[in-house]
């Protein structure tokens, strides 16, 4: 229950931020709420309508009431730049971000676990040290710079991957060719993001592995004469998994916002690129919508992790 209260507080904080930011600024709040694009389309009737819709002539707490009432009805504002409701624009972009970040998260976690187990098992050897140094270096590269390097190398110089977008426009593909086209576009951004995430899951697995290897049951396993690989993965690796999975769960919450920079580099049409487009167009309703959706997905992801945790770690089940 404690967590649910935390989530509610977090959600209220986001709402308050979304509500207060445009209204606290000096100048016309309508301009701040709706951005440049709306002013071009602005007529006295529209202005009167918007003032009424946001209760802008009322005291602040009544404005907040109007804001909440609209949200409850699923109205998170209207984008004059895209000429459609904010929620439909933002939700329409969500699947691409989920595809990109989901792929990168799964790949980097799996790869990080395997490399971490191997590295921790051979701690202090040359192979461990070079792997450690290599991955520390890679994880120091900001993901957008990794993306740019991949783009320049494989996209522009070698020309074997598309430079931008998530599908070939107007190609009319369907079925298997469409899937291949999507994967072709996904490859470079997903690689950049995977490399960006890899260091953390690798380091965590390696550290946990080193701790796990000191347990007495490792000695027992060895005394039983078990095969090396079986000890490494079945006895040590499995017990080193828990913190990594927890961390991936936390990362899951960052999914929606985690790819902002990489999406921009590859013009990948997810939420991050939408944020960028909205920034360029000063389309504030969209920015607020992205923050709202990002916050909600963080809360949902955390909630799911909380639910699944007792299944992963029996100690928690018994403790309650």
């Amino acid at each position: 229950m404690r967590n649910v209260v935390t989530y509610i507080i977090a959600f209220l904080l986001i709402l308050a931020l979304n509500f207060l930011l445009p209204r606290m600024l000096p100048g016309d709040p309508l301009m701040a709420i709706y951005g440049n694009e709306a002013l071009i389309a602005m007529t006295p009737e529209l202005e009167a309508h918007l003032v009424e819709r946001f209760a802008l002539d009322q005291p602040l707490w009544q404005q907040f009431g109007a804001y909440l009432a609209a949200l409850v009805q699923g109205d998170a504002g209207y984008s004059y730049y895209y000429n459609s409701p904010v929620l439909s624009v933002v939700l329409g972009r969500l699947p691409w971000t989920l595809l990109l970040v989901g792929t990168a998260l799964i790949l980097s976690t799996l790869l990080g676990i395997v490399l971490g187990i191997e590295s921790g098992w051979r701690r202090g050897t040359r192979r461990d040290k070079s792997l450690l140094a290599g991955l520390m270096a890679v994880s120091g590269f900001p993901d957008f710079f990794l993306g740019i390097l991949l783009l320049i190398g494989f996209g522009m110089t070698l020309g074997i991957f598309p430079l931008s977008g998530a599908i070939t426009p107007y190609s009319g593909l369907s079925g298997a060719p469409l899937v291949l086209d999507v994967l072709h576009h996904l490859f470079l951004p997903a690689t950049a993001l995977t490399l960006g995430y890899l260091g953390a899951s690798y380091l965590l697995t390696r550290n946990t592995m080193i701790t796990v290897l000191k347990n007495p049951y490792m000695l027992v396993a060895r005394a039983k004469g078990l095969h090396d690989r079986k000890i490494r993965y079945r006895h040590a690796g499995r017990n080193a998994l828990l913190p990594v999975i927890t961390r991936t769960g936390i990362q899951l919450g960052r999914m929606v916002t985690g790819a902002i920079f990489v999406e921009i580099v590859f013009a990948y049409p997810g939420l991050g690129y939408l944020t960028y487009e909205a920034l360029l167009a000063r389309d504030y309703p969209i920015l607020q919508g992205v923050l709202l959706i990002a916050a909600v997905s963080v809360l949902i992801a955390n909630f799911l992790v909380d639910l699944s945790y007792p299944r992963l770690d029996p100690r928690i089940r018994y403790a309650h």
Binding site: L13, G124, G140, P142, I148, V256, T257, I264, L279, L291
Partner: protein, 281 residues
């Protein structure tokens, strides 16, 4: 925790590499104005000039000297990194220790807020606020610090809670020591390693965030930074100017983050007794 940090750090290749690189960058940042041949924002030549003896890395799309911008970029990165980390560490220390020592309702309320702040995706909040406020460097530093203390506060509170129950603290209390005295005399000194870790990772996060915001184009255009250089150069990636315009700031940024990470990794290894061993990699 009585660890000879100096000795531990010296034993790690990563930390030695990190410290040397950071010191070099610091020298570059401090003496930047003396080292740069041109004003970084002044138009000194024609646009897109190739690298030459007068402009070692050529000029950008408005004829500004790229090498001068690169050197000034170190100032911005390090200034933002260090000041945000200092502010955030101080904030987290104050909030973490006060929550642990005062306890009760105060502790409950503060930790609820901390938990909620941890859940909120900071990067998108910063982007939104930056889009509205169009912050200069000072505002950006304050903003990053205000959204960067919560994780540290939780760790520090946990550590302070366990310190609080220790023998020497109750002994001090029985002599009539006040909360403030205990904090400064006994708790904070024992928290130094944790604060240091938070500080190091705070630097990394702040440098990363500043570069990201500049890359997005929401930072102050009058502040030269590596992120901004990458942002501008990317628009011309179809020319081959990226070789001397885009790669250098990217490499400089990565090198900075890698050296900070190296120091952090060595500290982590030194502070976690389970990770310490004869073969300290």
């Amino acid at each position: 925790m009585h660890i000879n940090l100096k000795q531990e750090v010296r034993r790690s290749d990563f930390a030695v590499f990190g410290i040397i690189t950071l010191v070099l960058l610091l020298i570059l940042a401090v003496f930047g104005p003396l080292l740069t041949p041109y004003e970084p924002l002044k138009q000194t030549s024609f646009p897109f000039e190739l690298p030459s003896f007068t402009h070692w890395l050529g000029t950008n799309h408005v004829g500004q000297d790229i090498l001068s911008q690169l050197i000034y970029g170190a100032r911005t990165s390090l200034l933002v990194g260090f000041s945000v980390a200092v502010l955030a560490t101080i904030l987290s220390a104050i909030i973490g220790t006060s929550a642990a020592l005062i306890g009760g309702l105060y502790d409950k309320i503060v930790m609820r807020i901390v938990d909620a702040l941890i859940v909120i995706p900071a990067i998108i909040v910063i982007i939104l606020v930056a889009a509205y406020l169009k912050p200069n460097l000072l505002v950006l530093i304050l903003l990053l610090a205000l959204l960067g203390w919560q994780g540290g506060a939780r760790t520090i509170r946990a550590q302070a809670l366990s310190l609080k129950e220790m023998g020497h603290i109750s002994a001090a209390r029985s002599f009539g020591a006040s909360n403030l005295y205990i904090t400064f005399r006994h708790i904070l000194p024992d928290l130094v390693p944790i604060l240091l870790m938070g500080f190091i990772y705070g630097i990394r996060r702040a440098i990363f965030m500043e570069a990201g915001l500049a890359f997005l184009g929401v930072a102050d255009p009058m502040t030269v930074s590596w992120g901004m250089m990458i942002h501008e150069a990317l628009d011309f990636s179809y020319l081959n100017v990226w070789r001397w315009w885009l790669i250098p700031p990217g490499v400089a940024l990565s090198l900075t983050i890698i050296s900070v990470t190296g120091i952090g990794h060595a500290l982590e290894g030194a502070l976690d007794p389970r990770l310490r061993s004869e073969a300290n990699a």
